[in-house]
Symmetry: C2
DNA sequence: TCTTGAACCTCTAGCCGCTAGAGGATGTAG
DNA sequence: CTACATCCTCTAGCGGCTAGAGGTTCAAGA
């Protein structure tokens, strides 16, 4: 199974120049090339690139994604090391879930707006005050 | 209650130049100024800016944040309009929660790694294949 | 086999969302 | 009435893409 960069782009919803950019910054390995220097990809690349896209949409920085990807790629890593990296990201992820859930609940209340005046809207408050990130490390 | 830009920055964890930038692009209203042109903020600004920071950390673009903020600020809006905007964001938010939850579960399994070889790690798969976003609109 | 056009290549420049620094003015504490 | 941290504006740079110029490749059809 061999995909052109355009086919990879269609399957992952990641634009062609972005794929080349990810290669350039080392997020994606350099793929095989045809005699005429065109890139050819395999199904591993599809999965990896899908992961990258989702992670970016979820607000992770490229460096964080690189770390997460490295977790899966380095079976030689010590368990403790993996533990540390993973725990740091877990904290971040749980925090995001809490905040997204609060936002979702508030928006859901707004959608059921027949019993609610817009002026009562508390969208801002729901993310503004709790400060879950105050003690996070990043 | 009147805050300097530096105090606002400390309370919200948003850097001073970023606050000025948000003002420049219209995310934050132009604040009152002293005679010497220094900015002075109130507690509304603290809440609004906290909201913006959280939303950005959750991966929302500035335009999306602007829309969400507008929901709270425009009591003249028709209910249907608010409904539409809100529903679109709700879809996005729910999707993010699903994906973050999947990622959290997988990382949690990794943290309990004494019973698991790293080579079994499925971090990529968990976000790679489900394609929840395939039918989203943006 | 040869042609043709979509898709590929590299390279450079630009956009968004910040962030840092120069060079100078403000304002509060002592 | 200083002193100096903080503020101001302005410009330039960085991370993460995105678009376009100018040229090459390659597979499908004549």
């Amino acid at each position: 199974m061999s995909l052109t960069i355009g086919e990879l782009s269609r399957q992952t919803q990641v634009k062609v120049p972005t794929i080349r950019y990810y290669e350039q910054i080392g997020l994606l390995a350099e793929p095989a090339r045809t005699v005429g220097q065109q890139r050819r990809y395999g199904s591993d690349d599809v999965r990896r690139l899908n992961f990258i896209r989702h992670a970016r949409e979820l607000g992770f920085e490229v460096d964080a994604i690189r770390q997460l990807l490295d977790l899966t790629a380095a079976p030689s890593r010590s368990c403790g090391e993996v533990h540390e990296i993973t725990k740091a990201h877990l904290t971040e992820i749980k925090d995001k879930i809490v905040r997204l859930t609060a936002l979702r609940d508030e928006l859901e209340a707004m959608v059921a707006c027949d019993h609610r005046k817009i002026s009562e809207c508390r969208i801002i408050e729901v993310l503004a005050d709790h400060g879950q990130c105050q003690h996070a490390e990043h």
